[in-house]
């Protein structure tokens, strides 16, 4: 059994720890020199001088959710495409580029069909019209 040399991931961990240290350090250093005079008025949310009415945590529109859904679908698609795209040059060099090209094209075309469907049906519009069917 062999284990992998994982040293290449060391900078990632170091940088994340550095970010935490930087943030923590700056906040801690500031604690000793910054003023702290909390008051009720200071701690209310800023609404251009008006007293805030209710909470900001309201029900948001479903279109944000739809954007996220479509995003995930394209994200998964690109995740699948990345390995194929990276071997395309190699296959092209050994004369099998046509096979890969056809598979990539058909993969993309299916998704383009989906995108066109959503476009025609108006799902990509941000401002949706509420016309009644007649």
């Amino acid at each position: 059994m062999s284990t992998f040399n994982l040293d290449v991931y060391m900078p990632v961990v170091i940088l994340i720890v550095l970010a935490l240290l930087f943030a923590g350090g700056a906040m801690l250093a500031g604690k000793f020199i910054r003023p702290s005079h909390p008051s009720v008025l200071k701690e209310t949310a800023y609404e251009c001088g008006e007293e805030p009415v209710g909470s900001a945590w309201a029900n948001f529109n479903v279109r944000f959710y739809v954007v996220a859904l479509i995003f995930i679908i394209f994200d998964v698609e690109s995740a699948l495409m990345f390995p194929v795209a990276s071997v395309f040059k190699h296959f092209n060099a050994i004369g099998m580029g046509g096979t890969v090209l056809v598979s990539v094209l058909s993969f993309i075309m299916v998704l383009v069909a989906g995108l066109i469907y959503c476009w025609k049906k108006g799902d990509l519009d941000w401002v949706k019209s509420f016309h009644r069917d007649n």
Partner: protein, 178 residues
């Protein structure tokens, strides 16, 4: 040496995140802990040399699914609704003595099965030697366009289905605006 550190960090993050998701009463905080847990899983993938899978975990789950969940929570107005529509302040514990018994027994059986599967791996652990990280992207790509080309193509149809499903579900209902 660093591999052990990475493994311990990732598994602690995964398990700790998962427990925190369960025990947090705030939906938003649960989502954040889930983000930590998913990051831990990415670290675990990196530990076993699956670098592409780790990056995919980051891109799809940490970047996509967590945002989707946050938006889904915002659809219901965030974590501010601590009282549900029946006026109950919290949800009673689900299950009773017998369900807990069944769950315990099945968890026990499942863990035995898993132990049986990994026993061979544990037995065959010999001296370890460090090898360079082999790029998995290239192998994955070759497999996707040769042996598993059908799976690759069919997955696009699956994604198409998901895309159209997402679009149809989210359409404004016309009869509401009569």
């Amino acid at each position: 040496m660093f591999s052990d550190t990475l493994f311990l960090l990732s598994s602690a993050l995964t398990l700790g995140g998962a427990f925190a998701v369960l025990y947090s009463k705030n939906l938003m905080h649960s989502c954040l802990y889930l983000l930590g847990s998913l990051f831990g899983v990415a670290g675990l993938y990196a530990c076993i040399g699956a670098d592409f899978l780790a990056a995919t975990q980051l891109v799809v789950y940490a970047g996509g699914v967590v945002i989707l969940m946050l938006f889904a929570i915002m659809l219901t107005g965030g974590a501010s609704n601590k009282i549900n529509k029946f006026g109950l302040k919290k949800i009673p514990g689900m299950g009773n003595f017998s369900t807990y018994m069944i769950a315990g027994v099945s968890a026990f059986v499942a863990s035995l099965v898993v132990l049986k599967i990994i026993a061979d791996v544990l037995k065959s652990q010999g001296p370890t030697n460090l090898v360079a990280n082999e790029p998995t992207v290239f192998k994955l790509g070759v497999l996707l366009v040769t042996d598993h080309i059908l799976a690759f193509e069919i997955s696009s149809v699956l994604l198409l289905g998901a895309l159209i499903g997402a679009a149809i579900i989210s359409r404004p209902r016309r009869e509401i605006h009569d």
